[in-house]
Symmetry: C2
Subunit: 301 residues, 2 copies
DNA sequence: ACGTGGCATAGGGTTCTCCTGTGTCAATCG
DNA sequence: CGATTGACACAGGAGAACCCTATGCCACGT
């Protein structure tokens, strides 16, 4: 019941000769002979009739052939998949991506990578930074891009650049001058990433600042998606925070303006990977691309 | 690259634990551990993350899983097929059948066999006796029913019963009294089984008789199917030969009558099987059914 | 602090795989 | 008609794979 046995059987059936099959498989004729014989004796079934001049499948062999072919095809596909992962000639590079990754340069990164290695598919798993970090930490993902800070000890963290975070409102009166943390805590807030709550890195920075002054940040409304939050803000339901990349994108509704914090607040985007696990070539290469695309060392955004 | 490795991988991925997989597979945990490790080292790819408390698939493992499942499914199907052939609990009994087998008791034979062994499918390959004999001789088929005589030395031949062969015509004037071979040779004949020609057993008997008297049998028209021949006969294109089973069946056109030969001619139906090859239980059982259904030893009808 | 669950490692026995070399048999060719 | 060729079986031996038992390690829960 080994794959070699089924492969020998299939090739022998297709070529009509043990000798030809042996050449095809790169082994010797006695080996093919024995593989098939073992398959036959294992189940007490004759699969071939050994004519003196040619080989014929029995009815039992005819029944077995399609299943054997399925096994062999599966084995070839599996083998190809495993080799491709090592070869940059196929397969998939899987990469975790912070949820707002779309707003940065990532689409062009993928474009360039795909131009360089057209046979490698790219799978970007877009989650919150918290979840990306957890997935990389457990090994489900090899690497990813996240917003700092993150807690995990077992990750290699490479900061890439930072993006300033602004206070956003539809009321111009509240955008007159840079926001203090006290003003922020008093504001009617519409926050997003409800599922992750205060584990979200940007929120954690704000919570830490508030704590230093004995304050607490509390959201009036929490929604899941930033687009929903901005919609509410534009209709005057409250204020929120956005990073520059989003503020300058087309997602930003008309009539919503931004103002910086008094003490400037930054999202730091970093690449993370597991500390111990080896990286596949495709992932390694994708990480190199990501590093190379960053304009400089931690520019201000 | 063995099936055991893929099976261990699949079960471990599904159960989330090497230990559980080992119990599932009926082997020990170190064995599972080694099988997976070998699979990983074979291709230098990590498939699982061994968490202290839990096993997690890597991205590479996720890619491999469907292919591995295909291999395992194919192996299970193959194994079941091979066991079924030995067990009378499934699988297929393949049987060669003379072309006119339908006109005998065969349909009821199949019915009874199927009632006894509902899980065994029956595949009747209906060919001319010549071809059935050749297929059984080479081993492509395990057994079959044919009309004698056949040449092959390597066959075990068990005569079952015989069926008289008549001369058939649409012209009552030619059916007055039993036909002599000389009259037969002179008649305008419409014969069937064109493809096999004079290798057909019934034809061979007639040719042998003619040869004894220095005559030759020649067909005016040859067609492939007996139904076509009878159609021509009913329209007066010539005469032909039919066995009793056909003469009494609904296939026989109105207006076509039969008369025996002066020296009675019989088709002897026999069961044949290969001399050396072992028979599968299903085929052996089907042969027993066939023997049991014969009323007596070589009855005349 | 101790027991438990789960994976890794070590060492050994049995079987499988693959090789080389040789025998047999039938079909083909000079 | 004898020699050659082609294809499969058989024998014996080296190496690897598979599976086992026994044991160690580590994190978790009581």
């Amino acid at each position: 019941m080994s794959i070699g046995q089924y492969r020998a059987f299939v090739v022998a059936a297709e070529t009509g000769s043990f000798t030809a099959a042996a050449i095809d498989l790169g082994i010797t004729q006695p080996s093919v002979s024995e593989l098939v014989r073992r398959l036959e004796s294992e189940y007490q079934v004759q699969l071939f009739v050994r004519g003196p001049r040619r080989l014929t499948l029995t009815a039992a062999g005819e029944e077995l052939l399609p299943h054997a072919q399925q096994i062999v095809a599966g084995a070839e596909a599996a083998e190809r998949t495993l080799s491709d992962i090592q070869s940059l000639e196929g397969g998939v590079a899987t990469f975790g991506l912070l949820r707002n990754g779309d707003y940065y340069l990532l689409s062009s990164l993928i474009e360039r990578f795909h131009a360089e290695y057209p046979n490698v598919r790219v799978r970007l798993v877009g989650l919150n930074s918290v979840e990306v970090a957890a997935a990389v930490s457990t090994g489900e993902l090899e690497a990813g891009l996240v917003v700092l800070p993150i807690d995990d000890e077992d990750l290699v963290v490479t900061p890439l650049f930072r993006d300033e975070v602004f206070y956003a409102s539809a009321d111009p009166a509240r955008l007159q001058k840079p926001k203090t943390i006290a003003e922020f805590c008093a504001a009617p807030l519409v926050l997003y990433d409800a599922h992750y709550g205060w584990r979200d890195p940007t929120r954690r920075q704000l919570a830490a600042r508030a704590q230093l002054e004995g304050l607490r940040v509390e959201a009036r409304i929490e929604v899941e998606h930033i687009e929903a939050a901005l919609g509410l803000v534009s209709r005057g339901a409250g204020d929120t925070i956005v990073c520059r990349a989003i503020a300058e994108s087309s997602t930003m509704p008309e009539g919503v303006g931004v103002v910086p914090f008094e003490e400037p607040l930054y999202d730091t985007i970093a690449m993370i990977r597991g500390r111990s696990a080896g990286l596949s070539p495709a992932t390694r290469e994708l990480m190199r691309f990501a590093r190379d695309m960053i304009p400089g060392p931690l520019p201000q955004g």
